[in-house]
Assembly symmetry: C2
Homo-oligomer: 344 residues x 2
């Protein structure tokens, strides 16, 4: 085996895949948030004139991928694989999008870390020289998620202050073999963590240990330290989970107070009354596809650790009294990689 | 890019991964069927002393992987990735198994073609030299599937003659870099097909066109003909879908009457009153992990095309009047590969 593996959980790509482009489509609430200017399209109606919220989520997913293909003047036939997933039962938003696209398709599921799983698998397939172009996507929708995971919207249940607001939107990315930055140079795949949290409206607390485990493993496997990154950004821990993550990392000797944030924290501001801010598979997908990709392209950021986080529960496991297993997958994205020069 | 791709949908592995071992655990009904002697373990009670059917399915999944590791005297720490999925919402059987295993984890979903998707992704990761050992699994459970997808068991709804019986069981496979047969030499990834079927109790008819599209693409991409294979075996089309598949392939000029069957047809016999025979993500997984792997090891079969099939519907899409999108993924498994010698 080539020297592609670092430690237990990390791959280093000697021939790193390129992120050629991204696309992001969001709903009205996300379009009122601080990142509004970075999204490709803001829908002013979150039903997108569809009859159901599930169909609306499919619209977001499909529109995101179509926008991405349009940007690069590519057709479905130019894409070797479509890899994606979403939060709905049987990942229907993604599978129905795959039906429209007509691209060889792999459905994936890591809850809100789905975008990262898709990127990691796509990176392996491209770096292994089994494909030239791969499109990945992830989506979520506030209203389809609320009625599947929590309470019917009509019942008007009061939300806890630890609850997060599921992002309505879809993000997609085109990965390719190329020599243009930004590159995906390292991927650290998560091991499921479960610290016994049972409250489905306190996901940030449940997911924080998974984020911490993956970030610590990434540092251990690569020899990188927090200062090696311009930004470390988790997926959707929200305000509660972000603080826990910073505290737990500090306890392990890693101070990330200067260069760490969370996509869920960034996508909404204080005034939007979301409580612990954003979540959902679409959250990290649109924040990356909108804001982060822009900052990498403008060289405002040159090296980031992108760590989407997911809670692998289902309404059935919650009703049956199970705790919430969580996972996080980390991806190093950089403009000027110095491969094999990890600070070991 | 190396010459790894053949046509639109197929990868040929120059350095093909080995299937080192498999494990299969099934429920009592499968243990009474014609393949009973090939399974590693037959549970005499399909609840496995768990409190819920969902927990029982998790038991099958976990037991299958633990049995596989035990056979090869490996521990979780020896495995680089665990890739798998199941039919339950949010693939909880697999994710809760991943939590127990503590292996870097990718959850996947292609409905009853999940085992094939996991094998295809694992093959790329191993052939790309990003991992040494990967465990894949897929599971299903009659009772958890019935209550999630169809009717409560207690209501005793009469089943249509086209309905299939979800297999209770889990199959798992250990893929590695090795020089021992059998090898995975080609993978053909499916494109979603939808011929407008809406009946969730007639899955064989819905899935047959997906199987046909993937098999035809495989022949086109590789230049192989039906006679190049000792056996072509689809996943869970059952008796209805098997006949449709044979007819559609014959119409395209491919006579597979001598060497084609379906895992769902083989797992039960006429006397077991299942109507159109077996289905479920566990169906192709246990038939491969039990019967087919045994036959490959004994050289009774030396080259097979394994084509698990999946219906990408959800109860929500059915209630909302959607048709059923389907997918099939094909895998060439052979004992004595002659790579690059496809009969073009």
């Amino acid at each position: 085996m080539k020297n592609n593996r670092l430690g237990r959980q990390t791959i280093r790509f000697e021939n790193p895949p390129t992120i050629l482009n991204t696309a992001s489509i969001v709903g009205p609430k996300e379009g009122e948030g601080p990142l509004r200017d970075y999204f490709d399209k803001v829908e002013c109606d979150d039903t997108c004139k569809e009859k159901t919220f599930e169909k609306a989520e499919e619209y977001f997913c499909n529109e995101s991928v179509e926008t991405l293909l349009h940007k690069e003047r590519l057709k479905s036939g130019d894409i070797d694989y479509y890899i994606g997933g979403d939060l709905l039962n049987q990942i229907i938003s993604t599978s129905f999008t795959a039906k429209k696209l007509g691209i060889p398709y792999f459905g994936v599921y890591s809850a809100c870390a789905t975008f990262a799983e898709a990127i990691q698998l796509a990176s392996c397939i491209i770096a292994g020289e089994f494909a030239l172009n791969i499109v990945v996507s992830a989506s979520s929708h506030f209203s389809s998620a609320e009625r599947q995971y929590r309470s019917p919207l009509e019942s008007g249940v009061q939300r806890k202050m630890t609850a997060q607001w599921t992002v309505t939107g879809a993000g997609s990315m085109l990965l390719t073999q190329n020599s243009k930055p930004p590159y995906i140079t390292h991927v650290t795949t998560g091991i499921v963590q479960d610290y016994g949290i049972k409250e489905a409206d306190n996901m940030g607390t449940a997911m924080a240990p998974a984020a911490v485990e993956t970030i610590l493993s990434h540092f251990k496997d690569t020899g990188y330290k927090p200062d090696d990154y311009d930004l470390i950004i988790t997926g959707d821990l929200g305000t509660v989970g972000k603080d826990i993550t910073m505290d737990l990392l500090l306890r392990e000797g890693f101070d990330v107070s200067k260069n760490y944030t969370d996509c869920g924290v960034e996508i909404y501001d204080e005034s939007q009354d979301t409580h612990a801010r954003g979540s959902g598979a679409g959250c990290s997908a649109v924040v990356f596809s909108g804001y982060l990709f822009d900052q990498l392209n403008k060289k405002e950021l040159n090296k980031i650790l992108f760590v989407p986080t997911g809670a692998l529960l289902s309404p059935t496991t919650t009703l049956q009294g199970d705790t919430i297993p969580c996972i996080a997958h980390a991806i190093t994205i950089e403009n000027t990689p110095e491969l094999g020069k990890e600070a070991k």
